[in-house]
Symmetry: C2
Subunit: 344 residues, 2 copies
């Protein structure tokens, strides 16, 4: 069994004092960002694990960050929360703490669970996910002075949300997809959207509209179909856009399931995805990489979200939000040069 | 905020003594199975949460069960571990404890992390997942008398594995798929398999072979193609089986990605999945339900696995293993009567 790395070794390698390493772990707000980055890199490199038991005695903290695992629809392809939770676990460990999982009902009904965890000192802070519009948890925790950070926004505004948050910029994502398709020579780019009134869906529609307008290509109502997020409608939505005369040569879909509807509609007409009509999705679900051809999609930057969430927990007076851009993953559905599909 | 449920209320509702409720929580092995079930149902019904802080003082336990979140291939469609972790969290909560997440390298390289968690009394027990052939964790934990249960087997045998385990019966799964296809009138059923020598893959091939033999239908080498689990080979594997003259009318695939290869190969020949050739997959990935037509697949019984894992943690001298059957989810790919696809 290798001997454990000590705080002294971390300090020596990073060229800082023991106190600075200690601050980087326990009070990151006191350390300059570049120093903090260097110390954390050394902690990663050496695999240093702080003695959290001793820390618990000193500070009476549990050394645990609470995370609620939400119920998901069994057929949801939005599996990036699995990747996110792993990234979050690793980031929390970098600060010498661990993630404690719990279940709770959404909304106000779940608040007694948060109260119970705090009453028992089972956790020091919360990392909130599955944030909903009007989510009551943020205000409830802020009123009690409990440290937390939120993945997602409680409303459409950005200024009035209690506590710090990180979110992914959906409009930026669909705008990236449009610019990629323009580069591929497309000039009639349709949009397959979610029903209006859904914040995530509206954001993604807006990015498509804006990027088309900036490029001077059409973004009229004829090129948009919004549908319920349900299979039959998905296929029909894509069909409505596919008019062999003046229909779009590329389709930007607001998520990967809608893009799958487009695959089915194109196949039914004998059109090939990627060569006859380009298609892009959103979320880069595992489905995107196993489809034939592979589906170009936008990958949620869950590793960066996780890192910022943990940093925000330790920043005193952290407030306001940060929008991170998703990453366009190009595959055969929008660029036939790319290999036809992925792996399991 | 509703007043918390007490142990007394649970005892009264379940018609048992306070001691029995206490035993159900802390020493389930002392309680008769039917009583244990009743007490747990009442705990669920009333939302009772034991005071684990007091329990920690009494028994010097952390009240936490360690769970290692493994690195996954970014494009893995095997997302049932996400569902499993949620089920496990809920089951562990039913016993008044919580799940503590951590990361560790696979194999012996990760053992210092387990040692560190035990040395700090950060966890009382481990629930092992991502079990590999020759996994060193089981013996290491057994030697130290640390309670644990394993999802998965460390070898092909079942008798020599240290500690209790639960696994999913792959052979039973493909046999279910074959019997379903026989009922649909198919009598030439091909198998798309993983390369030989992979325990999971060999199990699934054996189930197909055995069910065909039992029904008296052919299960010859002409009907089997095994391939690397990689896209190009997947498509080619399906192609090899599809001989319009005497080729199979149904294909059982060892996983959903292989089934996707069959979808692509059939489409390339102008054949329709479900009506011209039936296809089944394995694992019931989210992909299965969003494909058009939906892919018949075998669902991992993660809720039952999670429940047994937590029960095994609390059974003194638990050893040996249990194989649970997966559940066949029938969709349009093997039964055109079913709706064509699922939802996002």
């Amino acid at each position: 069994m290798p001997r454990a790395t000590t705080l002294e070794q971390v300090a020596a390698r990073a060229g800082v004092s023991r106190q600075t390493v200690s601050n980087a772990l326990n009070a990151p707000g006191k350390v300059r960002p570049d120093t903090l980055r260097r110390v954390r890199e050394v902690i990663d490199e050496l695999g240093y694990r702080p003695d959290t038991k001793a820390r618990g005695l000193r500070t009476r903290s549990s050394g645990l960050i609470g995370y609620c695992v939400a119920e998901r629809r069994a057929d949801s392809v939005n599996t990036f929360m699995d990747r996110y939770l792993r990234a979050l676990t690793a980031e929390v460990e970098r600060t010498g703490r661990h993630v404690l999982l719990f279940t709770a009902a959404p909304g106000a009904e779940g608040l007694p669970v948060y109260e119970d965890l705090l009453a028992r000192s089972a956790v020091d802070a919360f990392v909130l996910s599955d944030t909903q519009v009007g989510d009551p948890r943020h205000e409830w925790l802020a009123e009690r002075g409990v440290p937390f950070a939120s993945f997602g926004r409680t409303g459409s505004g950005t200024g009035d949300q209690p506590g710090p948050w990180v979110d992914v910029d959906g409009a930026d994502g669909t705008a990236q997809a449009v610019r990629h398709l323009l580069e591929q020579g497309h000039s009639r780019i349709g949009f397959l959207g979610l029903p209006e009134g859904n914040r995530v869906g509206d954001d993604r529609a807006e990015g498509w509209r804006r990027a088309c307008a900036e490029a001077g290509v059409e973004a009229s109502g004829d090129l948009v179909v919004r549908c319920a997020d349900e299979h039959r409608d998905r296929g029909e939505a894509a069909e409505l856009l596919l008019d062999p005369g003046g229909g779009p040569t590329a389709l930007v879909a607001a998520n990967d399931a809608l893009a799958l509807g487009a695959y089915a509609a194109l196949a039914a007409r004998g059109l090939r995805v990627g060569t006859d009509v380009a298609v892009t999705g959103f979320d880069d679900s595992p489905t995107a990489s196993v489809l034939v051809p592979g589906l170009t999609s936008l990958r949620q930057p869950v590793e960066r979200v996780a890192r910022r969430m943990v940093e925000l927990l330790d920043e005193p007076d952290a407030a306001g939000g940060e929008l991170l851009s998703p990453e366009l993953v190009v595959r055969g559905s929008s660029d036939p040069v790319h290999s036809a599909g992925g792996q399991l």
